[in-house]
């Protein structure tokens, strides 16, 4: 209401009335414009396509800082020799194949789950949740005085492929460590925004079918390594009749965990029922071997630049 045609009305009620009128008028204009546009676009769908193509909202996700590790399908990388791009794909496979036994038919994942030493109730409750989510998992109560190397040895002898450690601090679950056996690498994630199943309105009950896995938006080399971790944890032959999906959606380096059941109502409509739980993970550290040399570590000054993402 500021500007040149400012009207000085001292009565507050009158002023508000006038303001409401103007606002209402504007709303009506907008609605008619939209109605008209929708009508035009219904007749001519190309217009809609064109509009959506032109009016792209600028978000910090799509303004992200250039990262050359994403560039495998981007030929403008400038890296001279033509063989570089083709090679990058092979690189990806070689590098990750070494760490993760992706030939799941021979070695289905077998997961060892434990907590930190002297864990409290929250950790065991979270372990119960994870037992339901992770396939072929065995929970063992953590005992004091056994070193990580000894645990890893025991796991290797029993053909475990992965080790998951829940980290609890001050009666809250704060982190998750994933270690691939026997050679690593080790991932440490911070856990936040945990919502238990009962708190989710309209939640369903999960079945014991092997879920399908959706990995969203893991783009960089580091992101792909993280994606590969989850791929290696879940068997790659899901039971489709269970219609269960686990989604790991990466957005701005936060990984959102969700679990749903879907149903195809007819040829167009799909129904989703959330099974829960919900939680958010953030990669804090990636180490070679079992917690040896650091490959990547999140530091507070990485948060300075808002448009730089690492996954």
């Amino acid at each position: 209401m500021s500007g040149k045609n400012e009207i000085n009305i001292s009565n507050k009620m009158k002023r508000q009335e006038l303001f409401a009128d103007i606002k209402d008028q504007k709303n009506k204009e907008r609605h008619t414009m939209r109605r008209q546009r929708a009508k035009e676009e219904r007749e001519n769908p190309e217009l809609k396509e064109k509009r959506l193509k032109e009016n792209v909202t600028r978000t910090i996700d799509n303004m992200r800082v250039y990262d050359e590790t994403i560039a495998s399908n981007n030929t403008s990388g400038g890296n001279a020799d033509g063989d570089v791009d083709g090679e990058a794909d092979v690189d990806d496979q070689n590098d990750l194949m070494k760490y993760f036994n992706t030939s799941h038919r021979d070695h289905p994942p077998k997961i060892f789950l434990t907590t930190n030493v002297n864990a409290k109730k929250a950790a065991y409750e979270f372990a119960n949740v994870l037992i339901e989510i992770l396939p072929n998992v065995q929970f063992v109560k953590r005992k004091f005085g056994i070193k990580l190397k000894e645990i890893a040895d025991m796991c290797n002898k029993r053909n475990f492929t992965d080790m998951v450690i829940i980290n609890e601090d001050k009666k809250k679950v704060t982190g998750l460590t994933f270690m691939h056996l026997p050679e690593g690498p080790t991932f440490y994630f911070k856990i936040s925004s945990y919502v238990e199943v009962l708190k989710i309105a309209g939640h369903g009950r999960p079945t014991s079918h092997i879920p399908e896995l959706v990995l969203n938006n893991f783009q960089t080399k580091l992101g792909k390594t993280v994606g590969q971790l989850f791929q290696s944890i879940f068997p790659q032959n899901p039971d489709f009749e269970g219609r269960q999906v686990i989604t790991l959606h990466n957005q701005r380096d936060y990984i959102f965990f969700r679990r749903h059941r879907y149903v195809f109502r007819d040829e167009e409509k799909v129904g989703l029922q959330e099974l829960g739980p919900q939680f958010t993970m953030k990669l804090k550290r990636l180490q070679r071997g079992l917690r040896e040399e650091t490959e990547w570590e999140h530091t507070p000054d990485m948060d300075k630049e808002k448009k730089k993402f690492y996954l």
């Binding site: 001279a80 070689n94 590098d95 040896e292 040399e293």
Partner: protein
């Protein structure tokens, strides 16, 4: 400059040709002219040691083979799609079709001449692997490869499992002369090449394996231990200090008058996995002269490179100075730091602060001028050793565990014709300026100044 980088993920060797200020992480910055992979094998055959011998290259792989390659330079052929960002598109004044000027440079082609294989033995490490504080199994690898100081055609290779191989290069073929066994595990084997002698002395050590000096006879038949270090005294809680030297570099022998001739005369510097700096003088005794904590949290240290100008460095990276009170060195930890300390353990600079994100597996000083760094974050960086300024940063798609700088020549970038002349014209400098002119200028300036004052 021309770099050879060994990538661990596929056992390849990448040749990078780039100029100063190359940075692949910034799209608008200067990009490398060429990044080309050679000798691709698989991850089990990654290259752990690189050595340039004359015009050829010796490569030691983790599958236990040592290979000799012939290097020939061929001019880089320009493909039509090959776009380097440094190309300059110049348009002449008459607005003809743009002329694309490409920088001219050579690339190297490698031809395998000879191979010696089965030089590593994993079974020798099984015991050490069980006792080790490393949580994963230790695999055998080559920890060092040196040319003998008195015979450049003979190589000394040491493996983590304590095998010392003597290999000769004759008429473009490699031949294994002799293999000796020493106590495993090894983290380094550093050859002494500060002074000339017929026999060869080298030092080795590793996890729970104190530093030892051994002498190799002139005919390579005998290997005798001539000196062994002693662990430092227990700490104030009477706990044993763990032993794990990770890297060693020699200094020149002591040259004072007090030298006892019946004792050996060597000086060397060691960094340990428990973040100590140890200075040893064999004249002083078997315990270190100094044992300094470098990092407060006992973060493990991995590499050691001495800092000095080109004349002060030997081929094996030893320092040609006998003063233990005046040296500085570069070391790395297992997180992301590459640090330069002085002999008192005081931090002088950090290289690549806020830039390096993964552990630096490899650092090496070149010509007393550059520091090459490569590691788990898949970048190869070149730093200026004195100022710690980053000179080049190139993404190599895989983790890198060895870098070799072949030369530091800049590739000439062709300038479009005429541009240079115009630039000269713009920069007008009065050449024949006389004192009179200067006085005139001063007078003019003063006049201006006084006018402003009067206005006020």
């Amino acid at each position: 400059m021309r770099l050879l980088v060994s990538c661990t993920h596929n056992g390849s060797l990448k040749e990078i040709v780039c100029n100063q200020d190359t940075d692949t992480s910034v799209q608008t910055a200067r990009q490398p002219f060429s990044v080309k992979a050679h000798m691709v094998e698989d991850a089990n055959a990654k290259i752990s040691q690189l050595l340039s011998v004359g015009g050829s290259l010796v490569v030691a792989r983790d599958n236990g083979s040592v290979e000799l390659y012939d290097c020939t330079r061929v001019p880089h052929t320009v493909d039509s799609d090959d776009v380097t960002t440094d190309n300059i598109t110049a348009t002449t004044d008459k607005e003809e079709a743009p002329v694309v000027l490409k920088p001219m440079f050579d690339i190297t082609e490698f031809e395998l001449l000879s191979t010696v294989s089965d030089l590593l033995n994993d079974t020798r490490l099984e015991n050490a692997s069980k006792k080790s504080s490393m949580r994963t199994k230790i695999y055998d690898t080559f920890v060092s490869m040196h040319q003998l100081p008195n015979n450049k055609n003979v190589l000394l290779l040491a493996s983590k499992s304590g095998l010392v191989h003597i290999i000769s290069i004759k008429k473009n073929t490699l031949k294994l002369i002799k293999t000796h066994e020493i106590i495993a595990p090894l983290d380094f084997a550093q050859i002494y090449d500060n002074t000339n002698s017929k026999s060869v002395v080298f030092a080795y050590g590793g996890e729970e394996n104190l530093v030892k000096l051994v002498k190799l006879s002139a005919n390579f038949k005998e290997l005798t231990k001539i000196w062994e270090a002693k662990n430092v005294a227990n700490d104030r809680l009477d706990m044993r200090i763990p032993v794990w030297p990770t890297a060693l570099k020699f200094l020149n022998p002591q040259d004072s008058n007090k030298i006892e001739s019946d004792k050996l005369n060597y000086q060397f510097v060691v960094v340990t996995h428990w973040s100590h700096l140890a200075v040893y003088q064999t004249q002083h005794g078997r315990k270190p002269l100094e044992y300094i904590d470098l990092l407060l949290k006992r973060d493990p240290l991995a590499c050691l490179e001495m800092v000095g100008n080109e004349k002060l460095m030997t081929a094996a990276g030893n320092l040609k100075s006998s003063d233990v009170n005046d040296f500085s060195f570069v070391t790395t930890d297992l997180k992301k730091n590459v640090m330069r300390f002085n002999n008192k353990g005081r931090l002088i600079t950090k290289f690549g602060k806020d830039d390096i994100v993964g552990s630096a597996f490899f650092v090496k000083t070149v010509k007393g001028k550059y520091l090459l760094q490569g590691g788990l974050d898949r970048y190869v960086r070149v730093f200026d050793l004195e100022s710690a300024r980053r000179i080049a940063k190139v993404y190599v798609t895989g983790k890198c565990n060895n870098v070799l700088m072949l030369d530091d020549d800049e590739v000439e970038i062709p300038q479009p014709p005429g541009k240079g002349k115009r630039a000269q014209k713009k920069r007008h400098q009065p050449e024949n300026e006389t004192e009179q002119d200067v006085e005139e200028l001063w007078g003019h300036l003063e006049e201006n100044g006084s006018r402003k004052k009067t206005k006020k």
